[in-house]
């Protein structure tokens, strides 16, 4: 974290939204990537990214600089994504109950990797989070454990279990193609 970022954080802690805007500008792509990989939807990713930054501003006084600001943001975003998943399940159940079924829309809007995104979406959200942080975002298991609020061993176990499933699913996709 450079001095400029530290100054933006300090100013944001004093309630300056312009300083916070600079922090958003630096971290927006990273948070959007995370929220997209977690949800597989551009619209939901945008909503969650917005919610992440608004919550970050509200809580910025609790950031004490022990960890990197990006890790702190990751943690907020990941918690929102995991809660979003629960909200989504409830919302879908409600829709199924009250609305006639509609033709299913491909949740992945990424033209490059629909099968990878689909496989990620099939994982348990906590396993998906571990894979996204460690493999896609390149974080260490220790850093991912901090973001996810669990032990490093738990992260390793989730990644191991997720890898097994992903290999099976993506290999069968390849075989079909």
């Amino acid at each position: 974290m450079d001095d400029e970022q530290r100054a933006w954080i300090r100013d944001s802690q004093n309630g300056n939204p312009h300083a916070f805007e600079s922090l958003v500008r630096v971290h927006q792509r990273m948070i959007h990537a995370l929220t997209f990989r977690m949800t597989g939807s551009m619209a939901d990713a945008e909503d969650l990214a917005q919610e992440t930054f608004v919550q970050a501003f509200q809580r910025i006084d609790s950031f004490r600089g022990d960890a990197a600001f990006s890790s702190w943001l990751y943690r907020i975003a990941m918690n929102l994504c995991l809660n979003w998943r629960q909200r989504e399940i409830r919302r879908n159940r409600l829709h199924e109950k009250w609305e006639p079924p509609e033709p299913s829309e491909d949740s992945s809007e990424d033209p490059i990797s629909p099968e990878v995104q689909a496989a990620l979406m099939k994982l348990h959200p906590k396993q998906r989070a571990a894979v996204i942080l460690t493999i896609c975002e390149g974080q260490s298991h220790a850093a991912a454990a901090q973001v996810l609020g669990c032990s490093e061993t738990t992260v390793s176990w989730r990644v191991f279990a997720a890898r097994k499933k992903l290999k099976r699913w993506l290999s069968s996709e390849r075989a079909v193609q």
């Binding site: 805007e21 997209f36 006084d61 490059i112």
Partner: protein, 193 residues
């Protein structure tokens, strides 16, 4: 597929790109949202940590005091028969017929004589507990009670001292036989209102 191939595939899966305008406008959307937040929500997390700790401490203290007070003011389970007014009204309904009013875990019983032959005297309040089981009796000097499978006579002297006298069991505030000591007994005249 091995681990390396899987990682390559996952890393190659790029997140769809958004337009330059989107990235340009996104930070502004956030600040606009922040400005729209009500002041209370905006500054919810700005209260210093010490203030939160103090507030939490005070809340715990108040909760503790409330619990302590609720326990200390808890209604005594047999308080009903301590109410002289209630007893007085019951006695007035059956003049000289009430031998005893008994309250235990099963409820309250009124023991009446067939005839109006119970002499008028000051009612006596007696509480007898054996373990968790308690019984409260309102009765009069000269009446009989069953205590520990023994019939005892209730006696009161001119000073209001109550005695329970049986063949083997004797209880007074100052003296008890061993069978009475195994019970917890309290007795006193009941002031009528």
């Amino acid at each position: 597929m091995n681990d390396h191939e899987l990682e390559e595939k996952l890393k190659a899966a790029r997140v769809p790109e958004r337009s330059a305008e989107y990235w340009e406008s996104f930070p502004g959307k956030i600040t606009a949202q922040i400005r729209r937040l009500p002041e209370r929500r905006k500054f919810l997390f700005r209260i210093p940590r010490l203030a939160w700790s103090l507030a939490a401490g005070c809340a715990c203290l108040l909760l503790g005091m409330a619990i302590w007070q609720s326990r200390s003011t808890k209604v005594e389970p047999y308080a009903f028969l301590q109410d002289g007014k209630v007893v007085h009204e019951t006695l007035a309904m059956f003049p000289n017929q009430v031998r005893a009013i008994v309250q235990d875990k099963h409820g309250t019983k009124l023991i009446l004589s067939d005839k109006a032959d119970v002499p008028s005297s000051t009612p006596l309040w007696i509480k007898i507990c054996s373990g968790q089981d308690c019984r409260v009796v309102i009765t009069f000097s000269g009446q009989h009670l069953q205590i520990a499978r023994e019939t005892v006579e209730v006696l009161a002297d001119a000073q209001g001292q109550v005695m329970l006298v049986g063949d083997r069991l004797f209880w007074s505030a100052t003296e008890q036989t061993s069978s009475a000591r195994s019970l917890r007994i309290q007795a006193r005249p009941l002031a009528l209102m």
